[in-house]
């Protein structure tokens, strides 16, 4: 039985974060994280409770979240994100340490993992069928994803970053906390009272942000890869009629390329990756008005 973050006590986690770092899987990637910021420790205990610890010396990313020193400790305190001791971003307000960790991890993957096609998309799976949900911020992608993974039989493969392995033609599960913003936070909390959330952080660059813990089953099935079967572009539209419209493969191709972080970098491989995804996927545009019950039923029908 592999050891999980939840097997460690708060003191053990604090000690690791403050010394050699805690080694754990953040989705598909091995992370070594150091931090003396209490919110980071709390975030790891809650959001990554189900994540597996690794004891290897190798990590994909060596990350540190640290507080500013000097006067900045007292006046408008800040937190810094560093990867291999380099700081790619400006420091952010101290209260935003957990969002900074999550955004920083996303940045690590999108900027360094060019062995895969990385698409800005949620991915959920049911009945062995992986549904890729690409979307721009505000499209309702994460809300739909959160609703599905709280429903019977759906597994979280990704909230933000779909990882497609061209060599083996499958989606690599990358189950990490689901990032919700603004009114979506309360919508999901109300609809699924058993879901576990980090505290809501207000006034970030993305508005109010909270992260939802991925389920233990999604993490436990992390090595169960699957092939894409549907590519669905969700669009949340208030007071609209729910509509599922078939999308031409040509349109889907161009939109998937636009939603990919490294399509241009991968060149021919990027083109072949999207071709392979679309060869085995039905493509749709899905407009929904926020009625999650209806949306879940629609998605269930698609994969039944």
């Amino acid at each position: 039985m592999r050891k999980k973050v939840s097997d460690l006590s708060k003191t053990e986690i604090d000690n690791l974060l403050g010394s050699k770092g805690i080694n754990f899987f953040a989705g598909a990637f091995k992370v070594n994280l150091k931090s003396s910021v209490p919110a980071v420790s709390q975030g790891i205990q809650l959001l990554y409770a189900n994540s597996i610890l690794h004891e290897e010396s190798f990590s994909d990313f060596h990350i540190e979240i640290k507080a500013s020193r000097g006067l900045r400790r007292w006046i408008r305190p800040r937190v810094h994100f560093s990867l291999n001791e380099n700081e790619p971003f400006f420091p952010m307000p101290y209260s935003q340490a957990v969002p900074l960790l999550e955004w920083g991890l996303n940045w690590c993957v999108t900027n360094h993992c060019h062995q895969y096609l990385v698409i800005h998309a949620a991915v959920v799976e049911k009945n062995g069928k992986a549904v890729v949900l690409p979307g721009t911020p505000g499209s309702g992608k994460s809300t739909l994803c959160a609703a599905l993974v709280n429903s019977n039989g759906w597994r979280l493969l990704s909230d933000e970053l779909a990882i497609y392995d061209l060599k083996n033609n499958y989606i690599i599960p990358n189950p990490r906390p689901v990032s919700l913003k603004n009114q979506s936070i309360d919508i999901i909390k109300r609809a699924f009272p058993n879901s576990k959330f980090s505290p809501t952080i207000h006034d970030t660059i993305k508005g109010s942000v909270a992260h939802m813990q991925p389920s233990a089953s999604s993490i436990d099935e992390m090595n169960n890869y699957c092939r894409p079967s549907h590519v669905i572009f969700p669009k949340y539209k208030q007071n609209s009629n729910e509509e599922l419209v078939e999308l031409s493969k040509g349109d889907a191709f161009i939109q998937l390329a636009e939603h990919s972080f490294n399509y241009q970098i991968l060149c021919e491989q990027g083109f072949e990756s999207i071709s392979m995804i679309l060869d085995q996927s039905a493509c749709f545009k899905y407009i929904y008005d926020g009625d999650l019950h209806v949306a879940i039923q629609q998605m269930n029908r698609l994969v039944s």
Partner: protein
């Protein structure tokens, strides 16, 4: 007159459209049904150069498009712009 120039391209066939990737410029383009048909006409010409009239005739007779000279010219220029055909 134009001739096909597709040696540096990758294709994703999604009838009636066609997605093309130019390996030199690294640009991806979506060809509409008519552009895709014109590409098909050039491909079937086996390297023979074609005029606007040749393309217009093929589009109307083989592909049942109702199309005028100006539209054919505009579409040929679009294919030339992405370097899939070149003027000779």
């Amino acid at each position: 007159m134009w001739v096909l120039n597709n040696k540096n391209f990758l294709f994703y066939e999604c009838f009636p459209e066609l997605v093309v990737y130019n390996q030199v410029t690294r640009e991806t383009s979506l060809l509409s049904a008519i552009l895709s048909s014109i590409y098909q006409i050039f491909e079937e010409s086996h390297g023979i150069k074609l005029s606007e009239k040749n393309v217009l005739d093929a589009l109307t007779s083989q592909y049942n498009f109702e199309i005028d000279d100006a539209t054919v010219k505009m579409n040929l220029e679009s294919l030339e712009k992405i370097s899939l055909i070149e003027p000779v």
